[in-house]
Structures are given as structure tokens and as C-alpha cells.
């Protein structure tokens, strides 16, 4: 059988306020060509000036990926003609990238696996071509030209499409943790091209690889690679040879199709960009970038499992995004019940985000607010049902849960005298459920609890209600 060999080239847009070589704002979704200036448009006579912030983020990212960062680096020009490149060259890095020889650990089937990172280099993004709805022309949008990017090139260490997805998710988490990028694949701030080849199991030499482009979500990366894996397997089994081609993944069909063959390969004529002086990075500068790197997801996961006895699965979900992880950490420090906090984040918080298609940072929820809510819940101050509603409100408006509970009278009713009267009324009004219960159908109690909840607008303490119903049913049974 065949072994699959995959390497990924990942592009990450750096979260700078302005572009890498000019002062234009970086903004997703601006009207076409509204975020451009003579410099990024490549007008004759303009010159690039490096945005120091882009360099900082690139160095921080390289260090977070365990790369060696050399003390000197430079920019090169990658020459090619295409309307998305207004200078007809891209300022990139060729033989002296900002980072080399790094790695990223992934966990597959409970085992840790180290994926090598060949290099991380800094470059500018290109523009976008859109096919016009008004006929046979292409429209050029240069807003994206000059947005700083890093390209992260992996070693061919990945052995399955799933590993590729896990690696990509790992990159995303680290970039987010380090505040290097928001890594939104749907907005193109994280992009991924892949190389895939097959070789007979046990063979050392690599087979002929193909490059797959246009996989614009984590799921599609896995789908695209699976599809190409199948295609190559079939071809090899049929005795065909694999051609070195670039393929495009089609989201609709889930298949890959050829874009261009090796004969079209560019000679990019790289040479050092004479407009940009060499960069000299001092030890102090690199130290400073190292200090900017927070505790990364792997370390955080391990700590939580050890310190909070959090299940591995929970730790994995909660650390997948830095915002979620920070939320958990802040809440747990106050609530002191890791599993309770974990359940609420993985349950209602993530469900609410998903339902609205937003990110945590788009809401008003903070660790302190979540802690306040869960403390109320924990001490029996509110019911779980009320807590769910309050959470939604807090996420939208950011008000204090304690204040909401007090102001809206949502506090849980645990007073037995008050609840006993309601229970008596509910039992009287639901003879069928009572008969079912008496007949030994224990599930019927849920209907009665529900009626009590309805009568109390969800505020009744369910434990107390359960006990009171049990007591009164027992009394009826004994009376018969």
C-alpha cells in the first residue's frame, strides 16, 4: 500500500494596523481600491519603507514556531507579471528568511508528533482579480496589496489529511495566542497550499508531488487532500504516473482539477531588493520578542489537565482559541469549579456563538461576568434554565448577572412553604401524571416539575421541587 506524504505552505496575514511598506490601513471588506496609495499601487518613483510592527510580529511568530531567528535578514524581489502585482514583483524573502528550522507538535490518536517547519518568511500580499459581471474583463482590486504576510513552510512530515488539518489548527492557535493574526480562513487571513505525494510503504524516496490550492477552510483542507490522495492512489494502482501539476480544489464537487503544469513554472529571478536595507536583529530585540510570547496552547492544556483535573477533550476544546482559553482561565480562578466552567463554555457559550455566527470577541462576555453567573448558579441563587437566559443577555449587553437577577427578580425560589403550595396545585391539576407516577412510571415526574417551573417562571429550585413532589405523591400513595 501507499504512504501519503504532505507538506503545507501556510500564509498568515499579520495583524498590523497599516500595510507592510506604506501607511495604508489594513481593513477587510473596504470598497475596491479604497485602501491604496501611490506606494502600494507601484506608481513610478515611489519607495517601500518597512513597517516595524510587521517585522516584530513576524519574528514573534517565527520564535513561537520554535524557529531559529538569524541576526541578519533581507528582502528580495520575486519578479512576475500579473495584474494582481502592480510593481510586477513581490517583495518577499528568498535565501535569508526571518526564521528557519522550527517545529510544531500535533497530537494524533493520543500520540504527540513533531512536524518540522523549514522556514518562516515575511512578504507582502498581492491584490485580487475579480471577474466582472459586466462582460469579458477582469477587475483588479489592490486593497490587499502590501498587507504583511508570513509564509510558513513545513517539512514533508505530515502523513495524512487529518494530520494536515491538525497542524493547520495548531498554527492558527499559536498565531492567535501570540496576537500575530486573527487567522480567519473565510476572510483569507489564513491561507493554505499543500503538496501531496504517495510512495510505496517502506520506500525512502518521495513520489512525484502535486500542489493543491484554493482550500479555504480547515474542513476543505482535509477534504481536498483526501480527494487528491484518492486520485493519486487510483492513478498509481492503474499503473499511471503522477504528473507534477498545480491543482485547484473545487469546494462544490470536492474534487481537484489541474491549474497549470510544470512547464508553466515561473523563473522568479529573485534578487535582493535594493530599496530596503539589510535588517540587523540584536539579541535584545529577539529577547524582547520572546518575552511577548504567552503560554502557548500545548502548555496551557497540560497545565489545566494537571491542575484542574480537566478532561483531555475539554482542555483541547478550550485551548483551541486564545479568547476562549482566557475566558476559561479568568472564570475558573473565581468559581473554583473547572468542570462547571468548562461545561458552560463548551455548552451554552459556544452554542450561542455558533448560533449567531460570531466570535467571542464580538460579545460582551468576560471571565468576571461568567464567574458571577456561575457563582449564582452554584450557590442555588438561580436555576440552570434562568442561567441560560441570563448568559445570553450578558453576552449581548455585558451587564452584571447579579444585577440582572436582582433587578428582574430571577432569584431561585427555594422556600419550601411557597413551593409546597404550588406543588399541591400542580398535582391537583394533573391527575393523569399523578396516576402514571403512582403506577410506577417514574418519568412522569418530569412533566409535574415542568408545570411547577412554568408556574414559577423557571425560578423554582428543581431539587426542592423534586423532593416536594415525591413527598406529596408518597402521601397520596399512603392515603389510598
Amino acid at each position: 500500500m501507499f504512504e501519503t506524504v504532505i507538506g503545507l505552505e501556510v500564509h498568515v496575514e499579520l495583524g498590523t494596523k497599516t500595510k507592510i511598506f506604506c501607511g495604508c490601513a489594513v481593513e477587510f471588506g473596504a470598497p475596491p481600491n479604497a485602501r491604496v496609495c501611490p506606494v502600494c499601487m507601484g506608481s513610478p518613483g515611489v519607495l517601500p519603507v518597512l513597517n516595524e510592527e510587521a517585522l516584530k510580529l513576524a519574528v514573534r511568530a517565527a520564535l513561537a514556531l520554535n524557529c531559529k531567528v538569524p541576526k541578519e535578514s533581507k528582502f528580495d524581489r520575486k519578479n512576475y507579471f500579473y495584474p494582481d502585482s502592480p510593481k510586477a514583483y513581490q517583495i518577499s524573502q528568498y535565501d535569508e528568511p526571518i526564521g528557519t528550522n522550527g517545529y510544531l507538535d500535533i497530537e494524533i490518536d493520543g500520540e504527540k508528533k513533531r512536524i518540522g517547519i523549514t522556514r518562516v518568511h515575511l512578504e507582502e500580499d498581492a491584490g485580487k482579480l475579480n471577474h466582472s459581471p459586466f462582460g469579458d474583463v477582469s477587475l483588479v482590486d489592490l486593497n490587499r496589496v502590501g498587507i504583511p504576510l508570513i509564509e510558513i513552510v513545513s517539512e514533508p512530515d505530515l502523513r495524512s489529511p487529518e494530520e494536515a488539518r491538525l497542524y493547520l489548527e495548531g498554527i492558527k492557535a499559536i498565531m492567535q495566542y501570540c496576537l500575530v493574526s486573527e487567522c480567519k480562513m473565510e476572510e483569507g487571513s489564513l491561507r493554505c497550499d499543500a503538496n501531496l505525494s504517495l510512495r510505496p510503504a517502506g520506500q525512502a524516496a518521495f513520489g512525484t508531488k502535486t500542489e493543491i490550492k484554493n482550500m479555504n477552510s480547515f474542513r476543505n483542507v482535509q477534504r481536498g487532500l483526501e480527494s487528491e490522495q484518492v486520485r493519486q492512489t487510483r492513478a498509481l494502482l492503474a499503473g499511471e504516473t503522477i504528473e507534477q501539476v498545480t491543482l485547484r480544489f473545487d469546494e462544490a464537487t470536492g474534487l481537484t482539477s489541474p491549474m497549470r503544469s510544470k512547464e508553466d513554472a515561473h523563473d522568479y529571478r529573485y534578487f535582493p531588493d535594493p530599496d530596503l536595507p539589510r535588517m540587523f536583529l540584536s539579541d535584545a530585540y529577539i529577547e524582547e520578542r520572546l518575552r511577548e510570547i504567552p503560554e502557548l496552547p500545548d502548555a496551557r492544556r497540560a497545565r489545566w489537565i494537571a491542575d484542574y483535573q480537566l478532561p483531555v477533550y475539554d482542555a483541547g476544546v478550550l485551548t483551541s482559541s486564545r479568547d476562549i482559553a482566557d475566558l476559561f482561565e479568568q472564570a475558573v480562578e473565581r468559581v473554583l469549579d473547572a468542570k462547571l466552567v468548562s461545561n458552560w463554555i463548551m455548552g451554552d457559550v459556544l452554542a450561542n456563538l455558533k448560533a449567531q455566527g460570531i466570535e467571542l470577541r464580538d460579545t460582551k462576555l468576560t471571565g468576571a461576568l461568567l464567574a458571577d453567573l456561575l457563582e449564582n448558579l452554584k450557590r442555588g441563587g438561580i436555576s440552570a434554565a434562568i442561567a441560560k437566559d441570563v448568559l445570553k443577555h450578558v453576552m449581548e449587553y455585558g451587564e452584571s448577572p447579579s444585577k440582572i437577577i436582582a433587578a428582574q427578580g430571577l432569584a431561585q425560589i427555594s422556600d419550601e412553604g411557597e413551593l409546597a403550595g404550588i406543588v399541591t396545585q400542580v398535582i391537583a391539576a394533573n391527575p393523569k401524571s399523578v396516576e402514571d407516577l403512582l403506577a410506577g412510571k417514574d418519568k412522569a415526574i418530569a412533566s409535574l416539575v415542568g408545570q411547577v417551573m412554568k408556574a414559577t417562571k423557571g425560578k423554582a429550585n428543581p431539587q426542592v421541587v423534586n423532593r416536594l413532589i415525591g413527598e406529596q405523591i408518597q402521601a397520596i400513595r399512603e392515603a389510598r
Binding site: 518613483g45 524581489r77 529571478r269 534578487f271
Partner: protein, 484 residues
């Protein structure tokens, strides 16, 4: 008469109230209209001139109210700029070059754009897509290039100063041919922002003037760090006029033997040797020196400059601005036809050379090797400057040649820059000043200085100029310029 005045004289006339900046400009435009038909220095003239510079500006800068013109590769927002190429016909840049901004701020009066070799590639200004420019000393001869329009405009008395650009001698060589002063500052001394790049690691903007003191005043205004140019040096700009003491006693002047080889015409040698005697008389110490890698400079330059140019000129693709070919089948066809029709022969030649030199498989043999040669040439200069303060040589091996004489032989044309190119490769400052006539044509004397040491350079050039009396005006009285 405006043609008689240099910057300092105009300054005096302005300060004395004898002239206004508007009258200086109007006279200059009249002279250009009347006489530039013969010379062909200007590609375009300003139609409506700005108001006279306010009095406060006149007190602040000697250049306030002084007319000038720009080589047509310097951007002024909203004004057509073509680099003398068909591919940029009608192009109006959205931005203004830093040097122009600085001249605008001090209130100098821009009169127009000057002819040049297309994209600054050439040594005779014959590579302009629009017109030839004639040497005011002899209208059958070239003014040099690529800043030929700038040198001719100053020599013809149209403007007291012009800005040019120098990649391999493009300021100094035409200055020599036209008997004026041409200064190439240290690489990084003057911002390149707004100069259309030919070879970015070699290009530098500088003034062409009638006197060394005028050149010092213009440099004073245009020099300095620019946040828009990452290659501009963040160093203080000294007071250049204060450096013009006339005193060079004990100054060590190196004579690089390699610059006096067989290619140098006898008349040129004679004038330059007389200049050496003059410097001795002024108390300078003359020392023979050697720059052993000089003979490799031309070859290295013709790899590096075209390599950078092939990339710099790629943006002229017909997509966003400038010339676009008609009747194209597809994108590739658009590129091929636009560039095939838009660029002239010499530009295409250099793009091809540069593309070849950078191609995969040839990069190490050409580009990388040429970079190594460049390092050796820089080291030659560095070693030499341990023992001398300034170097002296002819600017060019010959005086101005005839129009059409070298157009069919690019190699001979390239040899004309053999004595100026090493300076660009090393990034050093250099100046060409007139040092006499040979058969009625001006001879240029080149001084080369240490990095960022324009002060010494200007001081020795100025001392020579004053003592020898070989100024533009003196030479003009001796010979040919009256023909215009």
C-alpha cells in the same frame, strides 16, 4: 539678461530689488521659447507660473525665487512626467518627489521638464523617445547623458540650475560635455523618493549648476534624511557653503593611475594635468594611487544596473497607467505589445541583459559575481581613502562627441562612462567641474570624495575653480557657447 547670471547673481539682484522672481522666470521662459528650438533641452514648460515667492522665503533661502528645471524622471504631482519614454506619455504622477517638495518649500520656481535618455539609459540623450538635445557649445554634438537636457539647459543659460540623476555618470558626464558643474552626492545623502528608478542601488539625484558654490547651495536644500526613502542616510547635513574656504593647503589629492589610461584623449589629459599643477600651486599634496579593480567596474555595472532595471521597469505593463497597446488578444499579448511598442531600443536591450543575468542558472555567474566585483571596487576606494582626502581624474575620456557618432555601437557608448561608473558602484560623492577647453570643447575634471564627505569635495572643487579661473563663464568667453 538672465543667461548671464548664476544663482548667486540672481540672488543679489533679487535682494537688491532689481529683479523679482516673476521677472526672472518670465525672462527665462522667453529665452527658452526663443532659443530652445535649437538646443532641445526642454520637453515641457510650465504655462502658468506661481506667484512670486513671499518675502519671508527670500530671507530664509538663497534659492527663493530662483528658476530651475527638472530632469523628466522626477515626479511633480499632477504634472506630466515621461522619463522621455513613449510608455509614459501623458502620465501624471499622484505624488511629488522629496527633492521637489524641498525646492517648493524654499520658493524656487519650476520652469519645466528636461530631456534625457529614456529612463536615464544612455550617455548622449539620443535615446529620448521625443527629441534630441544638442550641445550648446557645438550644435552638431551631443550634450552627454542621460541628464543631457539638464546640462544643456544650464549651459545655454536657460536656468541657473537643474536637477539630474546619476546612476553611472549621468550628471557628471553631461556636465563635463557642457562645461558646467555636476554633483553626484553620496548614495543616501539625497532622498530618491519621487525619482523614477533605473538602478535603485546606484541612482542618486544631484544638481547641475554654473559654479561650485551654486551646487553647494542646491545640495544644502535637497540633502537630508527622508522617512519615505529607507536608503536615505539619517545623518546631519553640514553647512556646505561654510566649507568653501578656498583653503586646501596640505590636502592630499590622490591621482588614480587607472583613470589616465590609453582611452583618455590627449586634450583631456592636458587640461587635467594643468589642473593638477594648479592644485599643487594651491598647496595640495599630489599622490599617485592605484584602484586595481577599476577595469572590472564597467562589466560589473552592466550586469547590476540592467538587472535592477529589468525589475524596476516591469511595472510599466499597460495595466494601470501610461501607454497601452491596442488590439491585444489576451493578457500576455497586452504585456508583449505594450512593452514592445512602448520602450525604445536601448531600454529593451538593458531589460534583456538584466533579465538574462538574473535568470535561474545564470544568477551566480553574473549577478552574484558582479556584486563581488562591486565589493572589491568599494574596498579599493576605502583603502585609498586611508591615505588621501580626495581623488582626482578626468570625468570622461573624451570631450563631447558628434550626434549619431556612437548610436550604432553601444559598447563604445558605454566606455564613455568608464571613469564615472566606479564611483556609483562604491556609493561615493563626486563632482565634475570644467577645467579648460580642448579644441573649443569643455573638459570635465572629476573629484571623488569619501562617503558623506561632500564638504571636502566641494571645498577642493571650489578652491580649484576660483584659482584656475576655469569657470563656466570664463570658458564661455574663451569659446564656443556664443554660437547659441
Amino acid at each position: 539678461m538672465i543667461g548671464e547670471m548664476d544663482i548667486l547673481q540672481m540672488r543679489a539682484a533679487l535682494d537688491a530689488g532689481e529683479r523679482t522672481s516673476a521677472s526672472l522666470a518670465q525672462d527665462a521662459l522667453r529665452a527658452i521659447r526663443k532659443r530652445d528650438g535649437e538646443v532641445g533641452a526642454f520637453l515641457r514648460m510650465e504655462e502658468a507660473l506661481t506667484e512670486a515667492a513671499p518675502q519671508a522665503l527670500h530671507e530664509a533661502s538663497p534659492l527663493a525665487g530662483i528658476p530651475y528645471a527638472l530632469k523628466d524622471n522626477l515626479c511633480v504631482a499632477g504634472r506630466e512626467m515621461t522619463c522621455a519614454s513613449k510608455i509614459l506619455k501623458g502620465y501624471r504622477p499622484p505624488h511629488t518627489a522629496t527633492v521637489v517638495k524641498k525646492l517648493q518649500e524654499v520658493g524656487a520656481t519650476l520652469l519645466g521638464a528636461l530631456n534625457m535618455d529614456e529612463f536615464a539609459m544612455g550617455s548622449s540623450t539620443e535615446n529620448s523617445a521625443y527629441q534630441i538635445t544638442r550641445n550648446p557649445w557645438d550644435l552638431t554634438r551631443v550634450p552627454g547623458g542621460s541628464s543631457g537636457g539638464a546640462a544643456a539647459a544650464v549651459a545655454a543659460g536657460f536656468v541657473p540650475f537643474a536637477l539630474g540623476s546619476d546612476t553611472g555618470g549621468s550628471i557628471r558626464q553631461p556636465a563635463a560635455f557642457c562645461g558646467v558643474v555636476g554633483l553626484k552626492p553620496t548614495y543616501g545623502r539625497v532622498s530618491r523618493f519621487g525619482l523614477v528608478a533605473f538602478a535603485s542601488s546606484l541612482d542618486q539625484i544631484g544638481p547641475l549648476t554654473r559654479t561650485v558654490e551654486d551646487a553647494a547651495m542646491v545640495l544644502q536644500t535637497i540633502a537630508g534624511h527622508d522617512p519615505l526613502d529607507a536608503t536615505s542616510a539619517n545623518l546631519p547635513v553640514p553647512d556646505y557653503r561654510a566649507a568653501l574656504t578656498g583653503e586646501i593647503k596640505g590636502l592630499r589629492v590622490g591621482i588614480p593611475q587607472e583613470y589616465f589610461g590609453e582611452g583618455v584623449e590627449e586634450g583631456v589629459s592636458r587640461a587635467v594635468n594643468a589642473a593638477i599643477e594648479q592644485l599643487k600651486a594651491l598647496g595640495a599634496t599630489i599622490l599617485p594611487v592605484s584602484l586595481p579593480h577599476t577595469s572590472y567596474a564597467l562589466a560589473a555595472y552592466y550586469i547590476l544596473a540592467p538587472a535592477e532595471a529589468s525589475s524596476n521597469l516591469s511595472r510599466f505593463d499597460g495595466v494601470r497607467y501610461g501607454y497601452r497597446a491596442d488590439g491585444v488578444a489576451d493578457l500576455l499579448d497586452l504585456y508583449k505589445k505594450t512593452r514592445g511598442e512602448g520602450f525604445g531600443k536601448e531600454v529593451k536591450r538593458r531589460i534583456l541583459i538584466g533579465t538574462y543575468a538574473l535568470s535561474s542558472g545564470y544568477y551566480d555567474a553574473y549577478y552574484k559575481r558582479a556584486q563581488r566585483v562591486r565589493t572589491l571596487i568599494r574596498e579599493d576606494f576605502l583603502c585609498t581613502f586611508a591615505n588621501v582626502d580626495v581623488l582626482l581624474s578626468p570625468t570622461t575620456p573624451s570631450t563631447a562627441f558628434k550626434l549619431g557618432e556612437k548610436t550604432d555601437d553601444p559598447l563604445t557608448m558605454y566606455l564613455n562612462d568608464a571613469l564615472t561608473i566606479p564611483v556609483n558602484l562604491a556609493g561615493l560623492p563626486a563632482i565634475s567641474v570644467p577645467c579648460g577647453l580642448s579644441d573649443g570643447l569643455p573638459v570635465g575634471l572629476q573629484f571623488i570624495g569619501r562617503m558623506y564627505d561632500e564638504e571636502t569635495l566641494l571645498r577642493v572643487a571650489h578652491a580649484y575653480e576660483k584659482a584656475a579661473g576655469q569657470t563656466f563663464d570664463a570658458l564661455r568667453r574663451q569659446g564656443g557657447i556664443a554660437r547659441v
